[in-house]
């Protein structure tokens, strides 16, 4: 059983899709590299840190993008973002069974400044346009760098999130919060705190994610069950806003995720971080945010 978090972006694609079915768009030999990094005297990856293409999953056609966290923390530059946006726009005409986003990213690539910011906003717009067209967009988040910044927002715009305990999801990263708000607000060196708040278990308890073990097979199994579009209408958006407002009212003053778990009536919440995936899912069964 091979680990998702230890795999490269391309290994994740190969392990997830039906064997040999992946056809890459703009493969490395096309050298669609960042025009900005060389100006800054840095080597630029042949794929700008993301692989995109088409393949099949259990025989169904999917479009897929995988960010490589080891290259600049998966940060979104101009070319990187354009590859993801192009894939999402292509899906509106091709209408695959789903678009799979294998994300691992700290957000905008700051070296590329406004070009990176615009790239992320274009991804967001393309996700919403595709969902409005009824094609599900599914995020798989299991990389060691987590998903933050603009890609964190993008994740929350998608239909479904599948996540491992080791993965993290947030808007500002822990060190950004500590730098701007002070260590009293959030201690980024406290790894247990960081994972309690941003990790896959808390996201699952809050109803944002489906938790899976850190293996490519586990992600694949959860994915096959999740390839359904969720309706995106004014009513669903208003219901989502009401849920989030209610969550803020109930938990907004709390200092730690453990306090939230206790308020939700989960028995002995301190033990949750130490449980394996199956025992954890059993322990939180029936709890609702």
């Amino acid at each position: 059983m091979s680990s998702w978090s230890e795999a490269t972006a391309r290994q994740r694609i190969a392990g997830l899709l039906d064997a040999g079915s992946f056809i890459e768009f703009l493969p490395p030999e096309r050298r669609a590299v960042s025009p900005h990094l060389r100006e800054l005297g840095q080597p630029a990856a042949f794929d700008d840190g993301v692989a995109v293409g088409r393949g099949t999953l259990d025989g169904q056609t999917v479009l897929i993008a995988a960010q490589e966290g080891a290259f600049m923390g998966g940060a979104v530059g101009e070319v990187h973002g354009a590859k993801i946006t192009g894939l999402l726009e292509r899906a509106r005409t091709e209408r695959p069974a789903a678009v799979l986003l294998l994300l691992e990213s700290g957000g905008v690539r700051l070296h590329e400044a406004n070009a990176g910011l615009i790239a992320v906003s274009e991804i967001m717009r393309a996700v919403l346009a595709l969902r409005a067209a009824g094609v599900p967009v599914i995020v798989l988040n299991g990389g060691r760098y987590g998903v933050f910044g603009g890609m964190g927002i993008t994740t929350c715009l998608c239909d479904t999130l599948i996540m491992s305990e080791e993965a993290r999801l947030g808007l500002s990263g822990p060190e950004v919060i500590e730098t701007t708000m002070g260590v009293e607000e959030f201690d980024a060196a406290d790894r247990a705190l960081v994972w309690r708040v941003t990790g896959g278990k808390n996201r699952t308890i809050l109803g944002e994610a489906t938790l899976v073990a850190d293996s490519i097979d586990a992600f694949r199994a959860a994915l096959v069950a999740a390839m359904q579009p969720k309706p995106l209408t004014l009513e669903t958006l208003e219901a989502e806003h009401a849920t989030l407002g209610n969550r803020l009212d109930r938990f907004g003053d709390m200092e730690d995720a453990v306090d939230i778990w206790a308020a939700m009536g989960i028995d002995n919440p301190q033990r949750l971080p130490l449980l394996d995936t199956d025992a954890f899912l059993q322990a939180v069964k029936g709890a609702g945010a």
Binding site: P28, E29, G41, Q42, P43, A44, F46, A70, F71
Partner: protein
């Protein structure tokens, strides 16, 4: 950043039908190696872009050693390097060349 180019005499030309291969990731202490078919009259060309300046002689030594073991011709190798050690470079090249050559070597 430094850009380096090397050529080696090569050996048995690999059939041009072989698909390009990418091995490794451009992450800290690592490198990515792209192997492609090229009409180079049997020779091997290697182009390196590396974040670490001043290591040309070490690249020469490592690559010479690798192509004494791999007698392949008509290939172009492009490398993006983020400070990999010589041992990592040699292993990554072995990985890429093995995958590229398949049963053809």
């Amino acid at each position: 950043m430094e850009r380096l180019e090397f050529e080696f005499a090569g050996g048995k030309p690999v059939a041009a039908r072989n698909k390009p291969v990418l091995a490794g990731v451009l992450g800290s202490g690592n490198l990515e190696v792209l192997v492609e078919p090229a009409d180079l009259k049997g020779r091997v060309r290697v182009e390196v872009e590396t974040a670490a300046r001043g290591f040309g002689p070490i690249w020469q030594a490592v690559l010479t050693d690798v192509f004494e073991r791999w007698k392949l011709g008509n290939i172009r190798i492009s490398i993006n390097d983020a400070g990999a050690t010589p041992a990592v470079v040699a292993l990554r090249l072995d990985q890429a060349l093995q995958e590229y050559a398949g049963g053809d070597a």
